[in-house]
């Protein structure tokens, strides 16, 4: 008799918890893969494709699946470090084949030379270029990530990548160690 009660109670509990878990998995379903999201959050979102993937998110997915963390030049050493921290992996030097970390540049279209072919618009991953067929195009400076992707497709070569001039609001104090080194060198 006792045995039967025990079995019944356990079976009932099992069912109940199963139901709760089932409900929870539906109710609290996580959209997407949280690890991929976290990795993507660390990537610089330049969307330049230098990592060999068509954008930051695909690279984030690849990292989550075991790819190396040193393939993003815009993220630089600091980016590798944050990824290593996040994933508990070793800090490794940047993969030089992917390109070097350069200061931020912004695309600039020489508007009088633009023929309005819209090729750059199609290339821009963040819709930072404004224009219409046969009309001159221009770059929304604030939205441009400096990914370089619009330069190649331009048939008349009227897009320059210009370095962003330093401004008071983006200016950074120098790391004193570096400052001292520079002084010693000069």
């Amino acid at each position: 008799m006792d045995l039967i009660t025990a079995v019944v109670i356990l079976a009932a509990l099992g069912l109940l918890f199963g139901a709760i878990l089932g409900f929870a998995s539906v109710k609290f379903k996580v959209e997407g893969d949280p690890i991929v999201e976290q990795i993507n959050d660390v990537l610089p979102q330049t969307q330049c494709g230098q990592c060999g993937y068509p954008g930051c998110k695909p690279y984030a997915e690849a990292i989550a699946n075991g790819d190396e963390i040193n393939k993003c030049p815009p993220g630089g050493e600091a980016g590798v470090k944050s990824l290593a921290d996040l994933l508990g992996r070793e800090v490794i030097p940047l993969d030089e084949e992917r390109g070097e970390t350069k200061p931020l540049t912004i695309a600039y279209i020489r508007e009088d030379e633009c023929i309005g072919c819209t090729k750059c618009i199609q290339a821009c991953p963040v819709d930072a270029i404004l224009g219409a067929p046969k009309l001159m195009h221009t770059v929304i400076v604030d939205e441009c990530t400096g990914c370089d992707l619009c330069v190649e497709p331009c048939p008349v070569d009227c897009i320059d990548m210009l370095e962003v001039p330093q401004s008071i609001s983006s200016w950074k104090w120098q790391q004193p160690d570096l400052a001292i080194n520079i002084k010693e060198v000069s």
């Binding site: 610089p44 954008g55 330093q166 200016w171 004193p176 400052a179």
Partner: protein
């Protein structure tokens, strides 16, 4: 140095840490505030205040009068700028500015006509008939920002009215060398207190406390005389001379015993603090109708032959100042004090509203960055820190780019006073590390915002491309369907048509047959 034997009228509390560097104030505070010859050209920096850059309202070649608005606010968190003298606008362009970076920024350049003639000013003794909003608007339009150093727009600080009970006038002026507030109080205590009265009126009366270090006996005397004259209830809080007692949080703690917690404002304690110079500027703006076009600047340092305090128009190039006092052989030019100031990179930069002092330092007057030794973990820096931080930990983390950890050690509570670096036996430029860490963190935050935006735009684009693709496919499908339907429909129609035609044919055939029949048959019916 002379100490006041005047005992404080309110109890004074303790603050942690602090240092006692040589004061060097007597060199500059013995003579009356005077003026220098007018410069030929003025360079007014439009981003000199905390907040947004002011937007020019004048055109190239336009002639302006002293006190005329030349740039107005961009949003509320911004300020107005006025012509410091009469003359012509000769440039609106990027020029080197008085900033630690040595960078250029947008400036308005005015060539003086030498007449220094004012716009028409509207005096207003009866400010009490104005509404709170009207007074605040005048303070805003007079371009008044905090003159103690941070250049925070004053109208914003005065905005919040609920729960404010006390005005503290900051007259501590704790940094060595600087004596501009000391002299201003000695000469214009009445106007400063009237300015304080205006602020008090904005809140329907506040308790007024003036916090001052005991190394300014003459200024304390002047305040006593002035409050007697004005019959104004002002408590004088005399604090012992110790750097940095004039920091906002530090002076509040000294005078009230209360600490402004992290992320909070003095207003949360019912306090509002304004510098003595700012009170004077508010007086001039409201009573005399004068915008902020000049300020008192201490010119000092061993390489300055005419040490003293001068009323200098905003935008006066540094070069003009050092030429006017005929300095020779200075080794270093510092804007601000020796603790918190910065080295001037360009002599052509104009002074700004925050410029309280220029030190023309002779050789080996100020300690130069020496050979830095490793940290010996002596803990001296911790003892000296007025914000009760652990400077040594901050240093380690900033050096290793471990910004998050530095933040965990309350990096942003650091007021960059330099007390830690002053006592450090290893001569580590500690404050530079903190500034480096702070500016890196700020930049990273901005970059993160930009990255998030780029990600959103990229995702929106992918979605759009996907959608367009879907829509195209859908359109194709629909078109195909319509065609199919049409074809089907036309097929059906044919059948109908055929049926109709067949029917018609049948009817016709029948009729024909009938006609033939009737032709043959005799017409029986006709006769009937």
């Amino acid at each position: 140095m002379e100490r006041s034997n005047f005992t404080s009228e309110i109890p004074i509390y303790e603050i942690p840490g602090g240092i006692h560097p040589e004061e060097h104030k007597t060199e500059s505070n013995q003579t009356a505030i005077s003026s220098l010859p007018l410069a030929k050209e003025f360079v007014i920096n439009l981003k000199a205040q905390a907040g947004n850059r002011s937007a020019p309202t004048v055109e190239l070649g336009q002639s302006v009068l002293k006190g005329q608005v030349i740039a107005k606010n961009d949003g509320v968190f911004s300020s107005f700028q006025h012509a410091p003298t009469s003359g012509t606008v000769t440039a609106i362009e990027k020029r080197p500015i008085a900033h630690a970076s040595g960078l250029e920024d947008l400036c308005i350049v005015i060539k003086s006509d030498g007449r220094d003639s004012w716009v028409k000013l509207e005096r207003n003794e009866e400010y009490k008939s104005l509404s709170r909003e009207q007074i605040l608007a005048r303070i805003f339009e007079a371009g008044i920002v905090g003159l103690g150093g941070a250049s925070f727009p004053s109208h914003i600080k005065l905005q919040r009215s609920e729960g404010i009970e006390t005005l503290i006038i900051n007259a501590a002026e704790c940094e060595p060398y600087i004596s501009c507030d000391d002299k201003l109080i000695q000469e214009n205590a009445v106007e400063i207190l009237k300015g304080a009265e205006i602020i008090s009126h904005l809140y329907n009366k506040l308790n007024i406390i003036i916090g001052i270090e005991d190394n300014k006996p003459k200024a304390i005397e002047a305040i006593k005389v002035a409050r007697e004259k004005l019959k104004l209830d002002v408590k004088i809080g005399v604090v012992p001379t110790k750097y940095p007692s004039g920091g906002e949080k530090q002076l509040i703690q000294l005078l009230t015993g209360k600490e402004v917690q992290q992320g909070k404002l003095p207003a949360d304690l019912g306090l509002v603090m304004h510098n003595a110079g700012t009170c004077f500027a508010i007086y001039e703006a409201i009573i005399d109708g004068k915008p902020l076009v000049d300020r008192v600047v201490t010119l000092t340092g061993n390489a300055c032959p005419k040490k003293g305090n001068y009323r200098v128009p905003i935008g006066t190039p540094v070069k003009h100042l050092i030429d006017s006092v005929q300095t020779q052989d200075y080794q270093q030019l510092i804007m601000g004090g020796p603790m918190m100031g910065f080295e001037i990179h360009s002599l052509h930069a104009g002074i700004v509203k925050a410029t309280n002092c220029i030190i023309m330092a002779a050789k080996s007057e100020l300690s130069q960055p020496q050979d830095v030794a490793p940290c010996i973990r002596c803990g001296e820096c911790m003892i000296a820190c007025p914000a009760s931080l652990l400077p040594q930990q901050l240093y380690w983390h900033a050096k290793a780019d471990e910004f998050e950890k530095a933040e965990d050690y309350n990096l942003f509570d650091c007021i960059e006073c330099g007390a830690c670096a002053y006592v450090c036996p290893s001569d580590i430029p500690l404050v530079q590390y903190y500034r480096y860490a702070k500016s890196s963190i700020r930049n990273n935050r901005l970059e993160k915002i930009k990255a998030d935006k780029a990600r959103d735009r990229h995702e929106a684009r992918l979605e759009r491309i996907e959608r367009v693709k879907r829509e195209k496919a859908e359109k194709h499908r629909k078109a195909a369907e319509t065609r199919r339907k049409a074809a089907e429909a036309s097929g059906k129609n044919d059948a109908k048509k055929a049926a109709v035609e067949a029917a018609l044919a049948r009817v016709q055939a029948k009729k024909k047959a009938q006609a033939e029949q009737s032709d043959l048959k005799p017409k029986q019916d006709e006769g009937s």
